[in-house]
């Protein structure tokens, strides 16, 4: 049992804060009392602080299961900046020897980040089970429910893995979850009695806006206008890397803003530079892909624009959660052109195999090193002795689920009543009040009335670029 004053002391000592943000202390208290905990806290509420602080106090290894390598690397970097050097990410990008080096010295680490695929490898499991595990964290826990069956089946093994690790204390953390998803997470991790810490998903300072276009050219032109008009910094989401690259180039040319693309295809050097430029206020706008997490917090993002339609409301809500973490007025704009749902549906179903594919891969002799993701997926189920009928039925159900999720997303676009109320009822939260400026269905969008108009003196001045001054500035005298 860890006392409140110990939590406050550690907060001061490691983070330099006096007070917790909503939900953090509640989650810590539950963990401190030894209760497995499901924390549903909006993006930016400081989920990571919970397990960092707990790890600090428990002084034992914390294993964090995380879906994206980029996210893990960012978290390790963030911990390192805070002075915690005993953190490592075990990723598929490391060589065998590098992984061995980490696994052989696990007792020297306090935080280990792993993907579910990595964690299901027996060498990794064995190494972790040899050390005293203080806490198992399942980050982005909604992946168990929304991604699990077709995208990352190893998520489904986490319940079993948890047993193999001796049922350690577990924190499941996510930003968004409907009642259904919450139940699903707890069921898959076999923790039906986990304590729930739930904060309202609503973000009152974000104005919700949807705009519709008949032709693509109008959409691009509107994007250009918005980027020029709106207070920066901002993030624009695309569903393809090529489009993100292309529009970053286009906006750089057409506006006076500094814009860069940010997605999983960038090399590490470029990714670092774009991140740091954005953090330091040298970039106004980032064109990102949805599948790519941005691990570094930036509190003053004023707008999040979606150029493409997301596949479901959970993803949408999580992505717009990057806006206005400082509590200041912000806006989420979705640009919709009829037909966009076909791209979304294609992307959303592209990972779900068709019945004939399932049948084909299931009956193949031994394509263990199959190059195809779908083949691997089906082999995963086959290797775990799931019958063909159940696999077929499972994916059929999955396809319907994805389709229904997209229909919900479309309903949000098409609705003519309050968008915020629609979201709240979707996430089963109907009890809070509406903000003064709510959504475009309640009042016509007026950027200046929202206090979101860019003023002229905001233009970012970039540092001079002659090599002499760069070299002079690089090193302190």
């Amino acid at each position: 049992m860890i006392s409140d004053s110990q939590f406050y002391q550690a907060l001061k000592q490691t983070f330099g804060f006096e007070t917790f943000r909503p939900g953090q202390l509640e989650a810590l208290k539950a963990l401190g009392a030894g209760k497995d905990t499901l924390a549903v806290l909006p993006t930016g509420a400081g989920k990571t602080l919970i397990y960092e602080l707990y790890g600090f106090l428990a002084d034992q290894l914390v294993v964090v299961v995380s879906p994206l390598i980029s996210l893990m690397q960012d978290q390790v970097a963030t911990l390192s900046v805070r002075g915690e050097k005993r953190a490592a990410a075990l990723t598929s990008m490391m060589t065998y020897n590098e992984k061995q080096a980490v696994l052989a010295h696990l007792n020297q680490y306090r935080f280990l980040f792993v993907s579910p695929e990595m964690l299901s490898q027996s060498a990794v499991l064995t190494a972790i089970s040899r050390v005293q595990l203080g806490l198992l964290v399942v980050d982005e826990a909604h992946c168990i429910s929304t991604w699990g069956p077709d995208f990352r089946p190893e998520y489904l093994l986490l319940g079993q893995i948890r047993h193999l690790l001796g049922d350690p204390l577990t924190l499941m953390a996510t930003a968004t979850a409907t009642d259904h998803v919450k139940a699903d997470i707890k069921a898959k991790l076999q923790l039906p009695d986990a304590e729930e810490i739930i904060l309202p998903v609503d973000r009152q300072n974000i104005f919700l806006d949807v705009e519709k276009f008949e032709v693509l050219a109008d959409k691009d032109e509107r994007l250009e206008t918005l980027v020029q008009q709106l207070k920066k910094p901002g993030v624009i989401y695309f569903s393809s890397k090529q489009k993100a690259d292309e529009m970053a180039g286009y906006l750089n040319q057409k506006t006076t803003c500094h814009v860069a693309a940010y997605h999983a295809d960038l090399d590490l050097e470029t990714r670092f530079k774009v991140q740091q430029q954005f953090m330091l206020g040298q970039l106004d706008v980032i064109c990102a892909t949805s599948a790519f997490g941005m691990g570094i917090d930036k509190n003053n993002v004023r707008f999040v624009i979606h150029y493409h339609l997301p596949g479901d409301l959970e993803s949408y809500w999580q992505e717009i959660g990057r806006a206005g973490r400082d509590g200041q007025p912000s806006i989420a704009i979705l640009l919709y052109q009829p037909g966009d749902e076909q791209i979304a549906q294609f992307l959303s179903e592209t990972t779900v195999p068709e019945p004939n594919e399932i049948d084909y891969y299931y009956h193949q002799k031994a394509p263990l090193a199959a190059p195809d993701n779908k083949a691997n997926l089906i082999w995963f189920y086959r290797n775990h002795h799931v019958s063909l009928e159940r696999v077929l039925a499972g994916f059929e159900k999955r396809r319907e689920q994805r389709f229904r999720a997209l229909q919900k997303m479309l309903a949000y676009v098409r609705i003519s009543s309050c968008r915020r109320e629609f979201i709240r009822s979707y996430f089963d939260q109907t009890d809070s009040e509406k903000p003064t400026h709510c959504c475009d269905n309640d009042e016509q969008l007026d950027i200046s009335a929202l206090g979101l108009e860019a003023s002229d003196n905001e233009r970012v001045q970039l540092a001079s670029t002659d090599w002499q001054s760069i070299v002079t500035q690089l090193f302190a005298h």
């Binding site: 990008m93 991140q275 090599w467 760069i470 690089l474």
Partner: protein, 343 residues
């Protein structure tokens, strides 16, 4: 990343060149035929420059030149038209100075080390411990940790400043600015290559080439200066351009072993042994290969008589039929003469 403009630099207005050779050199295929023709096209410095290049990209680039009447193509052999040559000369493409360094140094790992080293030294000079380090492969991080530990007392900031000033002064100003803008340090995140391309209004392919060549020149500079702080950054990254297996073959050959002995001892096909020798002859400097063991001075004189006045690309194997040479010996002679011509 090969566009039509970049393809221009690999073409000639005098003789048609094989598109597949140009492609294979860029992709890094090490067949003797690719290496030989790559040498004849003076394109070997580009070996493996663009490993992800696709055939479609190459074909599209060539087709676009043909459509614009800048080149003619027959049987995937491409030749510049007079307009093509004029365009090539007028485009003022960047002329790389040190690209061959790529063949002997792992420059991409070197660059990761160099960039991280500067960041670490820069932040240390501001006594800042809390910063986001560049994301690099684990091994690079370990190397720089050890490096910093080894040299931290050596007034690194001062050494780096002096070193960078010396190197950048040696470059034309635009190139010095280009390289300096890529650097990362305290509150200085550096520019991305895409941003530098945009600022200079050049293609990403051209900007990438400039970066690659400047990093090659940087490596050369370090190798000339021989200051331990910087040469240590190259430790373990310098390799022979010849593949490991071919090197062993050449070593045995230089020790005087017969080709059949080599193939028996190394469990290689006879043809593989010959390919290894040709690979080494092409990629190594003239004096590093014992040509006379296969081509005696007397034989060389006979060959020189046969091919008197004829340009190398026109030689035919039939012409040496009276000498009953093997094809690989004929090719070795072509290599020898190509190298002598370059001297």
């Amino acid at each position: 990343m090969l566009d039509a403009t970049q393809l221009l630099r690999f073409l000639s207005a005098n003789t048609p060149r094989r598109l597949r050779v140009i492609e294979n050199v860029l992709v890094g295929k090490r067949s003797v035929s690719t290496l030989y023709w790559g040498m004849r096209y003076a394109q070997l410095d580009w070996l493996g420059y663009d490993k992800r290049l696709s055939r479609t990209e190459v074909d599209q680039a060539a087709q676009s030149l043909v459509n614009d009447k800048l080149a003619v193509m027959a049987d995937t052999k491409v030749k510049l038209t007079p307009e093509g040559l004029t365009t090539l000369n007028a485009t003022s493409l960047y002329q790389p100075q040190a690209l061959s360094v790529r063949l002997t140094v792992d420059i991409s790992t070197f660059w990761q080390r160099f960039l991280l080293a500067i960041q670490v030294v820069s932040e240390a000079s501001f006594e800042n411990r809390q910063y986001y380090p560049l994301q690099v492969p684990w091994a690079v991080k370990q190397t720089i940790k050890r490096w910093f530990h080894q040299y931290r007392e050596a007034s690194l900031a001062e050494q780096f400043r002096t070193f960078l000033e010396a190197f950048l002064t040696s470059l034309p100003t635009t190139q010095a600015n280009f390289l300096a803008n890529l650097l990362v340090g305290h509150v200085q995140p550096g520019k991305t290559i895409t941003q530098l391309a945009q600022t200079a209004e050049m293609s990403l392919a051209e900007a990438t080439l400039i970066q690659t060549d400047l990093v090659c020149q940087l490596v050369q500079f370090i190798q000339q200066e021989q200051a331990p702080v910087f040469t240590t950054l190259l430790a373990g990254l310098v390799n022979s351009p010849v593949s490991q297996s071919a090197l062993q073959t050449v070593q045995a050959y230089n020790q005087g072993q017969s080709l059949s002995t080599i193939s028996q001892r190394r469990h290689l096909k006879d043809s593989t042994v010959r390919e290894h020798l040709l690979e080494a002859a092409i990629l190594e400097p003239l004096n590093a290969f014992d040509y006379e063991r296969t081509l005696s001075p007397a034989l060389q004189t006979k060959l020189a008589d046969i091919f008197d006045q004829q340009s190398i690309d026109e030689w035919q194997f039939d012409q040496v039929a009276p000498l009953s040479l093997e094809f690989w010996q004929f090719r070795l002679y072509e290599i020898l003469r190509s190298k002598q011509d370059d001297q």
